[in-house]
Symmetry: C2
Subunit: 549 residues, 2 copies
């Protein structure tokens, strides 16, 4: 049995190690175009900023280690140029010598990854213009920085761009991020990125939304990025981070099926349209676990699991199956953390799926213990049975925990009613007797049970009598334009001030007092609903759009 693997980073390295564990006899050859295998892709921005101090930290496994420990035939700087599926051979070029040769296989696993998109712009090949994907990229960027960079422009507002922006800012580089959409971090719903936008601004990073680069030009002291808006941004460092595209040339050349966005088509065993050829990692089209639609999700965790599954199946374990990708992801931008799992509201809307949503804004641990940090947790769920469809959180400490808990809840097919009952670890340093996950469950379940009519904070609130049930001091500090203030504790005595001829939208800061007010109003015969997630959610949707005395 001879297994050939193309690509030695995440999915490829996992497949190779797994194959050896399953079989001491298998011949396993790994071809990697670059000089490194299994490097810490996700650490690159932190090496730029210096938080990861030495380059060797990024080399998770060396080729020698793979050779010695797993008896793998690892050939770096070796480019696989073509697959002859009929003869079951690959054609390989040794990049050091230029020599070309053929290598036969019984089973082939393609793990070539994805390549950064380099749009065909004038000037994209000028010195000082980079992408950030490999150790070689980071070496070049660091060399440029070490030579002195006062200003940088990052094109694209995705995960890696924002991490890089943070690290450049830490080095004192004046950094501008340019993103063509009206929000950064496009896997998130826009309102959930409001705190990230604020964090960038607070830390001196300029974010230009709704704009793109038209050209990079040479300028007196470096480069100049000309934007569609007409703005010209001087910089000595320009990094394109506008997405990646699957490295599918080999698969396409071999006539393997490829999806509309370029991902190699695979079945649940990670087999391509040729059952002896597998594909894994950023190069493949996966199935979205929630929507069931094909998707392109370049993430390290899924790549590793797919590699393992492909090796299992190739080495005779027919039960090995990949269940699809939830798109669980997390990013820290300065002190702000944003994380997501499952479908976003955007995705659900695009897919035409019915959904409901709630927002809660709890503290990450007991408020009475010092250091509690706020977070916003958004839950998307099925209106029929309450099945969880997706979750997003933004805040600081504890965001990662809640998204991981919800990722497993989604994997298990749990409902919002199950979240009410989740029994999570509580001590004052770690959570609350009613954890944010429970709170989100309470609100969502209340909504589905009909206890808790809700109006979305981003909806047109024009038809409602807007009732702010917070304290006068909170009201004075900022409120939804047009709202009338009746504190919740006075509400029962002041019902006569409220209209019975139109619906009342009650709100407080985060939704809890608004919920009680809604319950009071409903039972007193008013038409009433709570503004979901309160003023805190309103502000996420409408940053800067509020009245104050």
């Amino acid at each position: 049995m001879k297994l050939v693997i193309v690509g030695g980073v995440a999915g490829g390295a996992s497949a190779a190690a797994r194959a050896r564990r399953l079989s001491e006899d298998a011949e396993v050859v790994v071809f990697e175009r670059g000089p490194d295998v299994s490097f810490a892709n996700c650490g690159l921005p932190y090496y730029v900023g210096g938080e990861i101090a030495t380059r060797d930290k990024l080399l998770v496994v060396t080729p020698d280690r793979l050779r010695e420990r797993f008896r793998l035939d690892v050939r770096t700087r070796s480019s696989v140029e073509a697959i002859d599926r009929a003869r079951k051979v690959v054609r390989v070029r040794d990049l050091a010598t230029g020599r070309e040769y053929e290598e036969g296989y019984d089973k082939l696993i393609l793990a070539p990854g994805a390549a950064p998109v380099r749009p065909p712009l004038p000037g994209i090949d000028l010195p000082g213009v980079f992408t950030l994907r490999t150790l070689q990229d980071v070496d070049r960027i660091k060399a440029r920085l070490d030579a002195g960079v006062a200003r940088a422009v990052l094109l694209g507002g995705g995960f890696i761009s924002l991490e890089l922006a943070e690290n450049l800012a830490r080095r004192g580089v004046a950094t501008t991020v340019v993103e063509k959409n009206d929000q950064p971090l496009t896997p998130f719903d826009p309102e959930m990125t409001t705190p990230v936008v604020a964090a960038l601004a607070a830390n001196g990073v300029t974010l230009r939304l709704g704009d793109t680069a038209e050209a990079v030009e040479s300028a007196a002291d470096g480069l100049c990025v000309r934007l569609k808006s007409g703005l010209s941004l001087p910089a000595r460092l320009v990094v394109f981070g506008v997405g990646v595209r699957p490295e599918n040339a080999l698969a396409v050349g071999a006539g393997l099926a490829v999806g509309p966005r370029g991902g190699v088509r695979v079945n649940e065993h990670m087999q391509t349209s040729d059952p002896d050829v597998y594909a894994v990692g950023d190069a493949v089209e996966v199935t979205d676990f929630v929507t069931g639609e094909p998707a392109q999700v370049p993430l390290a965790g899924p790549a590793n699991r797919q590699g393992r599954i492909a090796a299992d199946h190739a080495l005779g374990r027919p039960a090995a199956r990949y269940r699809g990708t939830q798109g669980t992801a997390i990013v820290r931008v300065f002190d702000t953390v944003a994380a997501i799992t499952g479908a976003s509201e955007k995705v659900l809307r695009r897919a035409g799926r019915a959904y409901r949503k709630v927002y809660v804004h709890p503290a990450h641990h007991a408020g009475y213990y010092p250091g509690a940090e706020g977070m916003t947790l958004k839950l998307l769920f099925d209106p029929a049975g309450g099945k969880l469809l997706g979750a997003q959180a933004v805040g600081g400490a504890g965001v990662d925990k809640r998204i991981d808990v919800l990722a497993v809840a989604i994997q298990a097919g749990l409902t919002v009613f199950d979240l009410e009952e989740a029994e999570l670890a509580y001590a004052p340093q770690f959570g609350s007797a009613k954890d944010p996950v429970n709170m989100a469950g309470f609100v969502a379940a209340g909504l589905l049970r009909g206890d808790h009519p809700q109006v979305d904070a981003e909806a047109a609130l024009g038809g409602y009598f807007l009732l702010d049930v917070r304290t006068p001091a909170e009201f004075a500090a900022g409120h939804i334009p047009g709202a009338v203030n009746v504190p919740v504790d006075e509400l029962r005595g002041r019902l006569a001030e409220l209209p019975r001829d139109r619906p009342v939208a009650a709100y407080c800061q985060v939704g809890q007092r608004g919920y009680l007010a809604t319950r009071v109003l409903l039972q007193a015969g008013f038409r009433a609903a709570n503004v979901g997630g309160g003023f805190a959610t309103y502000r996420l949707h409408h940053p800067g759009r509020e009245s104050s005395h």
Copy 2:
């Protein structure tokens, strides 16, 4: 509809607020014996130590707030002395005036909590001897401390005792903890408490296991605790934390059914043997979610949920059901964090349940990013289908997250195979592409699939040829007595050195190289097994029992 609630802390306060949300018309009376409602029980040790700086932080909700916001008839310092179920009245004593009166009810919810056990020892009522349960307790302890305490003795090595020990140590008090069992934190399996024991020692807290108090005596400069071992410990502060017992006097007096450990018997709707009388919180006997056995689990989260469910059911929602308690709990002792969910190995053994177990020792986030902290994660699961039965973790950062993830996995009935596929949030600050939860799933699933024969680190290893596959330097620093060192990378070339007439137990530091070695040996025809969780697990079971050059 008139609802009377006895007890206004966790379960009682939750029931009362919930009742009001459901019904503006219900008359809701809350009797609380103490002066406070809903105080932060779990924060008391941190107020002693000063981390929680002001007492009012501990008052989560005041009686006035409950009155104003929820229009509840809250009567503090009011002791309910008896229930006349036939007439549906309770007899109440106003502790301020001594006045006694009757109050009728349609539905009654008992939430009296649990009281600290005060063993009938000579001297237990001496000044300077306390329990720690209420704000009044903490006031008394603080007053004593403020008067000057050089030495303290804490009897019982449970959660609150250890938290108090930490806080006393922070105040410079020489503290001894005395625990009658051979481990602290008895809900955990003993080996999982080894790092906690080490943390206490490292921070100057003396822990005496297997000993108990026989008497407290007056001494020249304070008190002296005489132990069964014969030792006498001088102290100016003695705190008993040897457990709590359900406050069941009211229920017993009213002829309601009570379990063998004193907990009030309730059905899944939290109804006692009288369907108009509910009981919730620390006073009730719950069903263990994993074993299905009755259990006594005094935790704040379950108490709150039970209160909510009792209110729902009492106010006409017959579907409200409590699913049982998993016993999810967490404690921080200095920088060491220990957490548990589901059944422990002790509980499974006692219940006669078949189980398997694995240990992993991963870092809490990517090793290449600075600040990674180690943890030990123990998984217990069904040998048949791999269903999760329990999990325990000990370490530092990230322990809480993994236990919460596993708590939800247990709630959902997931298996170790599901854990292999869990898609958790990965960025270098938060996790790894293969999260500790995935790692535990891989090892456990490998065990069940038969890929990964394992011998327990605490087993009698006498029959095995003990093979240490770590580096010579690791071996020299400490190894299992009798082991022979063959580094894994040399193993394939040195198979001739190993015996074929008896089984080989391979081990490395945490189990990964040992797993590869086991795979190599099995495929070369040896009888071989991996020592589960490696030397790190061995050391938890046998602290101090190792050889070194």
